[in-house]
Amino acid sequence: MAATELRALWGVAVKSWRIFLSYKLWFISDIALGFFFVGQALLIGIGLTGERNSEALQELTGYSDYVTFAVLGFMVLGFGLTFLSGFVWSVVDELYAGTLEYSFAAPMRRITFFLGNVLTRILLSFVYMAFYVPAFVLLFGLSFDPVAFSRAIPVLLLGTVGMIGMGMAAAGIVLYLRDPGPFISILEMLVFALSGAMYPVSILPRGLQYLARTLPYAPTTEAVRKVVAYGYGASTNEITYLLLVSLAYGLLGYLTYKWSEKQARVVGLKAY
């Protein structure tokens, strides 16, 4: 049973990968857009602080080098967004293409369908990182330490639980909306703004700080940064908080999605 579900998961991932590759210009524009977006944010940050190393940033985050701070945040956010976009766009893309009904009529579990799409996007985000990191090293002299970064992988995986939950909750809402496009755009912008990827969450107005900390992205970014810079011993508070947020989102995502799927079958939304 598990083997057949795994084969289904792989089937979905391969299908998504092939479809993505069939749009060759998308692939190029995705890399270019990501690069320009991050590059610009880095330049603005450097412009505002006046130099790469900032005492204020050091006080707030423990990082004095803005480029290292931002690239690390961007990598965590890029990874985290794959779950959100993997879940919501897998529904929306197939909905617009008209193929969702056939996939949902199959015995494969729905979660397999979503995770298969996420798997493709994770692979893509690794491919993008393979372009970005050397480019940032070359252009900005980024000091990227793979060993220090790999230390934080367990923390990233812990945050993944919450990010999957967030993706499932969003997919549940998308199933329920007649026109999900604007909702997804707003959600992605909100996640980006509140992720703490490009600036510390503590500089946000108090209300937004609370909001940022109730989403799984900023706590993951902060915990990863702290573990990379100071190790696990000094990061207990961040990891404990991340654990709570992740579990809460995991549960919330599962329940929201189950409810929404049931509702969609009752009211006949989308391809149902």
Binding site: T4, R7, A8, W10, G11, V12, V14, K15, R18, I19, S22, Y23, A97, G98, T99, E101, Y102, S103, F104, A105, A106, P107, M108, R109, T112, F113, Y176, L177, R178, K262, Q263, R265, V266, V267, G268, L269, A271, Y272
Partner: protein
């Protein structure tokens, strides 16, 4: 322990019964708007308590005009929609409780041509569906090859679906629907929009699936000739209700031959026809000549009155003939209008 065996036995008997599809007082309502807390929503009844049974190895048709509730019925039977009321069982399994088990044993061809992945090849499409329908790894390749050969697309297996004609896409959709060797096949308007040759291929293929492979097929259509030629039994559905169910021959017996009239006429304004007191419908229009074919259910006494009624409305009657009844006549008799009205 004894109860468990008894329960398992009942389940086995149900699963192996003679009925492939059973619907009892099946209902479905849709909300006009998305239901949200504190929002009053009006519900529309799309299917209003239909009951029918399909035998194993039978080709059963749901015939009705657009919006009659055919697709909604198929979606409930294929577990894509939750019924609002009544019960439905597929191969003895309840559609509410055993959705995944049912999905393993059935398959469907949905309406429309955008149901497959156009940016994948025919082979890649079938490979994807083989995976999500749990086709065993060692059978996958052989099954895909056999199906593509069966629908005449093996030579085009590596071509992208976006380059296929409408007929080829439909043949591929049928191959997809056979990927898990389903016991019951649901086909929603399988020949809609196809050219004549493709439609003939699809009809013959469906008939062979039943006659040679013993598959159970439930199809929906609004083409009377298709239903008449293909189906063992037909349920005529209108406004969410089954208004007649029988063999094509049995249904046609509902209309007496001497009552069936075909009129060829010109200068007909459709809005004037809607107020007709007669059971009558336009069944064909020739846009070039402006000639229309009308079918009417009138007896000898009513016929002169019908002709007079038409002439008074400026209609130029070209000919009036008695004809052998068709399923369209059955529908006109039962509803007072045509399938296309």
């Amino acid at each position: 322990m004894k109860a468990m065996f008894l329960f398992a036995g009942v389940k086995w008997v149900r699963g192996c019964g003679m009925w492939a599809v059973e619907a009892e007082d099946l209902r479905k309502s849709y909300p006009k708007k998305i239901p949200l807390p504190f929002r009053r929503v009006e519900w529309v009844e799309a299917v209003r308590g239909i009951s029918f049974r399909v035998r194993r190895g039978e080709l059963f048709g749901l015939l009705g005009p657009n919006g009659a509730g055919k697709t909604t019925t198929i979606k409930m039977l294929t577990t894509l929609l939750e019924p609002s009321g009544g019960t439905a069982r597929i191969l003895g399994l309840d559609v509410r409780r055993n959705a995944r088990e049912i999905r393993r044993r059935i398959n469907l061809v949905a309406e429309g041509e955008r149901t497959l992945y156009w940016r994948l090849s025919a082979y890649e499409n079938l490979k994807y569906f083989a995976r999500i329908y749990y086709v065993p790894k060692d059978e996958e390749r052989e099954r895909i090859e056999r199906l593509l050969k069966l629908v005449g697309l093996w030579e085009r297996r590596n071509d992208l679906v976006m380059n296929f004609s409408r007929g080829m896409k439909q043949r591929l959709a049928i191959a997809k629907a056979l990927i898990n060797d389903p016991e019951v096949l649901f086909l929603d308007e399988p020949t809609l929009g196809l050219d004549v040759q493709s439609a003939i291929f699809v009809r013959e293929f469906i008939r062979r699936l039943v006659d040679e492979d013993g598959k159970t097929v439930l199809l929906t259509t609004h083409y009377m000739a298709e239903a008449e030629r293909l189906c063992d039994r037909i349920a005529i559905i209108d406004h969410g209700k089954i208004i007649a169910l029988d063999t094509p021959k049995g249904l046609k017996k509902l209309v007496r031959e001497e009552e069936t009239i075909e009129i060829r006429a010109k200068n007909i304004e459709p809005e004037k026809m809607s107020s007709s007191p007669f059971k009558m419908a336009v069944i064909e229009r020739n846009p070039e000549t402006g000639v229309l074919r009308l079918r009417a259910q009138v007896d000898e006494e009513e016929l002169p009155k019908l002709v007079e009624w038409l002439v008074r409305r400026g209609v130029k009657v070209l000919s009036v003939e008695r004809r052998e009844p068709t399923l369209e006549d059955v529908f006109i008799k039962l509803t007072g209008r045509g399938l296309r009205d």
